[in-house]
């Protein structure tokens, strides 16, 4: 793609910020290869690409965290340099990362003006009244109605995000880079964020928006830039493309977004039966059933107790009452017992709960299967290597080898490692907690194909997901949770997004 292709609209005004021919190389990887990218005033520019496509690297170059090996920057048509975070800040570029950079035990006002506090009359003190007033003004401009002396720790994810945005605005940010800002938000919070984005646009702030969600791309985007393998594939307008075309650009091949499944006519015998399960983690009277050959969805709003049900079944949290019957026999105890009986948990946060990030792919793949692979108790490195090589091939895990540190793999491949360790263990029931979070589309359909194959071979799956589309496409049936209880059950023919939302909503 030449830079000439950039000008989507010939009569477009001068870009606020333009990057030309940016390259960035790391040992063994070309993270960015001759990427050009322009942001116009007051637009929402969607940045699309699979994990590892170069979105994060581009973002880090933008905010001065990485120094580009080659390329030029223009701000309002003039050459500039972005060599440090300070350079980026001077140009009015601010990034809202997925992991926030707020200090949890300070209040909102202190966080907004961290390091720039108004000085009090006595040297070394802070003018408390002024900082609160200034913070209130900034919060007012983004329409966030909250007491600025609230401690950040007490805020929800959405509110913390608002504080981050307020902080950026207070530094006169003209370009706001947002990395998957809706990943952890509920639908209602997402709406509020979109309203704020519209407001910022109207004020002339440009937004670079990284997303994995097709719906957002079309709802918000003025322009779309697609990256793949560190290269800019194309720049388009939402009106000129279909979601399928975008997916093809991102993946470089055709991917079926409908996740086809071979729904079994008759499900098998009952594998898991939960009766009246309650736990101190906030779930009560949960009764569900999962049969062999089924994928059963567990839906509901974030915080409705879905993960807590998964953890209670797996023995990760203590159960206060109720019964879990697995494979015909009652079960109670720690996760090691559940794992040995044949239950697998693929936890929501794979980095902190699913993997030992500093250990190798191979170490992580065999960790749950040690007892099965080495019944004598003696560990054999060659046997372990063969097992992990087999899984790497079977799951098509993209890694130079089993010795690679697992933390260096992309999200989708890390998820495959988490699933792989339970395949090695020979599990019968797979509990997936948000299996596709932060995973690109290509890997998503691979993971669904894998789950389909597992249940076709007689295993069963319980799948928690906030992506209702996925639940509807993939599951045989689903339970919907609300405030720690099962609010309803949806059979295959009733499984629609509307029904899930209707059952999951609060009726306060």
């Amino acid at each position: 793609m030449s830079t000439a292709a950039l000008a989507v609209e010939p009569a477009a005004p001068t870009p606020l910020l333009e990057l030309r021919g940016i390259s960035k190389e790391f040992p063994g990887v070309k993270a960015l290869d001759d990427v050009s990218f322009a942001v116009f005033p007051g637009e929402v520019h969607m940045l699309l690409g699979e994990n590892g496509a170069g979105k994060s690297s581009l973002m880090k170059v933008l905010c001065g965290a990485y120094r580009a090996d080659a390329g030029e920057f223009y701000y309002g048509g003039k050459t500039v340099a972005i060599n440090s975070a300070a350079d980026a800040q001077k140009l009015g570029i601010a990034v809202i990362f997925q992991e926030f950079s707020l200090v949890p035990h300070l209040d909102i006002a202190q966080n907004i003006f961290l390091g720039r506090e108004p000085k009090g009359r006595i040297p070394g003190t802070i003018d408390r009244r002024k900082i609160l007033a200034d913070a209130a003004r900034v919060l007012g401009t983004i329409g966030f109605d909250i007491d600025p002396s609230t401690i950040v720790d007490k805020l929800g994810v959405a509110q913390q995000q608002m504080v981050e945005i307020a902080k950026a605005i207070s530094q006169n940010a003209r370009i706001l880079v947002m990395d998957e800002p809706t990943a952890a938000l509920s639908d209602r919070e997402t709406e509020l964020l979109f309203a704020l984005i519209a407001r910022l646009k109207a004020d002339g702030v440009s937004i670079v928006y990284i997303s994995h969600r097709m719906a957002e791309v079309f709802a918000l985007g003025d322009r779309i830039t697609v990256l793949r393998d560190g290269r800019r594939i194309d720049g388009v307008r939402p009106a000129d493309v279909t979601p399928d075309q975008l997916v093809r650009m991102m993946v470089g091949r055709n991917v079926d977004m409908t996740y086809p499944r071979n729904f079994a006519d008759k499900p098998g015998e009952v594998l898991l039966e939960v009766k009246g399960l309650s736990a101190t983690t906030g779930i009560s009277d949960i009764s569900i059933e999962v049969r062999r050959g089924e994928i059963v969805g567990l839906c509901g709003l974030v915080g409705s107790g879905r993960s807590e049900v998964a953890r209670a079944i797996f023995g990760a949290d203590p159960v206060s009452s109720g019964e879990i019957i697995f494979d015909g026999k009652p079960m109670s105890g720690e996760p090691d017992l559940a794992a040995r009986r044949g239950i697998a948990l693929i936890p929501e946060s794979r980095k902190s709960e699913g993997l030992a990030l500093l250990r190798s792919v191979g170490d992580n793949l065999v960790v749950s299967a040690l007892r099965k692979l080495f019944p004598s108790g003696l560990f054999d490195q060659r046997r372990a290597q063969r097992t992990s090589d087999g899984l790497i091939r079977q799951l098509r895990i993209a890694t130079p080898g089993a010795r690679q540190t697992v933390g260096l793999l992309s999200g989708g491949n890390q998820q495959k490692v988490v699933i792989g360790k339970w395949l090695a263990a020979g599990s019968k029931l797979f509990i997936f907690d948000e299996p596709t979070r932060g995973i690109d589309i290509g890997a998503k359909s691979e993971i669904f194909a894998l789950i389909d194959r597992l249940v076709a071979e007689g295993a069963a799956a319980l799948m928690i997901s906030s992506e209702q589309v996925e639940i509807c496409h993939v599951c045989d049936r689903a339970y919907v949770m609300r405030e720690g209880r099962i609010a309803g059950h949806l059979a295959r023919n009733e499984l629609t997004e509307e029904n899930i939302v209707r059952l999951g909503m609060h009726h306060a």
Binding site: P335, D336, V366, S368, F379, P400, G401, R403
Partner: protein, 325 residues
């Protein structure tokens, strides 16, 4: 021709693991120290001195090998020295009272093991951070030992028993054989059993380990019990070598053992390190102190030098590992 085609389809030759590289660096460092000392001092290369170094290193190693397992799980056992003292005093009393070294040895090992198990219970069941649990245990054990001994010294043990610490077999001190045996057992346990693998997994990420079906609490109990038992073993060798036991013999043991673990490349953050590395760590520490003795450097400098070596070793370790990533 067949060879070439085989090479073409064979997976790329696997590199030495990170752990192996780190151990190799340490061996190199130990050899370097030996070379320097051999040049500077005539008596360094004498058989007597080398055996002396090995015997001294073995004492540190017994304590440090069990400690290595604890540190691999991202824990710490500060009570090992105090445990040695209590176990030695109790074992010594049993030998005096019964006249049976075998019974004394068993009591010493059991005492050490029980103390370790109690540490494990505090860490797992009571969820007290290991640093604090074993620090408290250090004081408790010291208190018990001082009360039990009441200022007395146990002295004079049967000649057969004293052979363990000071005897020779085919020209080598008996502790050196024990060192080789426990180096082998420790390495096999850590690298070649599934418990060892699980210990590394727990140290790397305890939450993920539990959710991967590893019985984390039971493995931690095992690790602290092993650390305690190894302190018990060290107490026996100590007792037999010194031919006496006092309440304060443990005070100078804990910090050198931790130093050996750290110099040996085991990370305090868990999941990284080897028992063999700890052996080299104990060796390096002993070599340097031995060299200083031979060169008539005042013993007052020894703590300072130990500190510098620990800091240097950990810093180099971090540097080389980071580059490898």
């Amino acid at each position: 021709m067949t060879d070439i085609s085989k090479d073409a389809i064979a997976p790329p030759r696997s590199f030495l693991s990170q752990d192996a590289i780190q151990v190799f660096y340490r061996l190199l460092a130990a050899l370097l120290i030996c070379a320097v000392l051999a040049v500077l001092s005539d008596s360094f290369l004498s058989l007597g001195n080398i055996l002396n170094v090995l015997r001294q290193a073995s004492l540190t190693f017994f304590i440090a090998s069990g400690l290595t397992l604890v540190v691999l799980t991202a824990g710490l056992d500060l009570s090992v020295g105090a445990n040695v003292a209590l176990s030695a005093c109790i074992a010594g009393t049993v030998i005096h009272k019964t006249g049976s070294p075998a019974l004394g040895i068993l009591t010493g090992l059991a005492c050490g093991g029980i103390v370790g198990l109690l540490n494990g219970v505090m860490v797992t069941a009571l969820r007290i951070p290991s640093f604090i649990a074993t620090y408290g245990m250090l004081w408790v054990l010291n208190g018990l030992t001082y009360w039990y001994m009441a200022g007395e010294t146990l002295h004079g043990f049967p000649a057969g028993f004293r052979q363990i610490g000071s005897g020779y077999l085919f020209g080598l001190p008996i502790p050196v054989y024990l060192l080789l045996v426990f180096l082998g057992i420790g390495t096999l346990f850590a690298q070649r059993t599934i418990w060892g693998q699980e210990i590394y997994a727990i140290g790397a990420n305890p939450v993920a380990a539990r959710l991967s079906g590893i019985p984390v609490a039971r493995r931690l109990l095992l690790v602290y019990a092993v650390s305690g038992t190894m302190a018990g073993l060290a107490s026996i060798i100590f007792l037999s070598r010194l031919n006496s036991a006092e309440a304060d013999i443990g005070e100078s043991l804990t910090l050198p053992a931790i130093a050996a673990v750290l110099i040996g490349g085991t990370s305090l953050f868990g999941g990284v390190g080897t028992v063999f590395g700890t052996f080299i760590g104990a060796l390096i520490l002993t070599l340097v102190l031995n060299g200083m003795n031979l060169l008539s450097v005042s013993a007052n400098w020894q703590p300072l030098v130990t500190g510098i070596i620990v800091i240097l070793a950990v810093w180099l370790d971090m540097k080389t590992r980071r580059r490898a990533q």
